[in-house]
Symmetry: C2
Subunit: 140 residues, 2 copies
Amino acid sequence: MASLNISNDLIDKVKYDPQGLVTAIIQDYRDGRVLMVAYMNRESLAKTIETGQTYFYSRSRQTLWHKGETSGHVQYVKDLEIDCDGDALLFQVEQVGVACHEGLRSCFRSPDLEAQEGDRKNQDLEAEKSIDSIDREKNK
Amino acid sequence: MASLNISNDLIDKVKYDPQGLVTAIIQDYRDGRVLMVAYMNRESLAKTIETGQTYFYSRSRQTLWHKGETSGHVQYVKDLEIDCDGDALLFQVEQVGVACHEGLRSCFRSPDLEAQEGDRKNQDLEAEKSIDSIDREKNK
C-alpha cells in the first residue's frame, strides 16, 4: 500500500467537530461524480494518509471502518483538498467496484428515483407475495 | 424566483441530525467542481425548494442564511439528489461569481496550497512590516 504524498501536518490542521469528526466528501477522480459522504476522526485520517485508501469512522458502529474491507470495493485516494474553514475534506478517488452498499455506483440518487425505487421494492414485494400465493396454490 | 420541481415530501424524508441539520454538498453543474459544503435545516431546505436558490443554516450565527444575499453570489439550483441513508444532499448549481468568501471559486484547496497561502500571507505581513519601517524611517 502506498502512502499519500500529504504531510501529517494536515491531521492537526483539520478542525474536528465536538465528536472529533470531519466531513469527508468522496468524488470519482475520473468524471467528478460525487460517490458518498462519510466522516473521519484523527485516526481514520491518519490511516488514509498512511495507506492511500479511505478509512472512515462509523458513527453508528463507533469504530474505524476501512471502506471496501469486506466487499473489496476500496477507494484509492488520488488527491485531497481541505476547505477554507478546515472542517471538510474532499477526496478524489479511484473507486473499485461501487461506492454504495446498495450496489449502485453512487450513494446519491434523485428523490424521485428514490420514490420510484420505493415503488419498485413494493412491487417486488407484491410480486413475491403473488409467487408465494401461486406456490401455495401449487402445494395444496 | 422559480421554485424547484421537487416535491415537498423530500423535506420530511431527510434524516436530520440531533441539531436538526443535514449536510449539503454544492457542486458546479457545468464541470462537477465541488464548491462548498454547508448545512440546512428544514426551513432552509424549504426555502431552497421554494425559491430555487440555496439557503443554509449558519451554525456559527444560528440563523437562516441566503447564500449570496450580500455578495450577489447566489446559487441557482439545477438538480438535487439525496443519499441512500437520507442524511446528505447533493446540489448541482449555477454559481454566480464565486462560492468562497475568500474570493476563490471553490472553498476547497490543496493542503499544500493552503500552507503556501499561509507562507504568502506571512511574507505579505513581513513586506508590510518592511514598508512600515521604511515609512517610519522616511518620517523621522
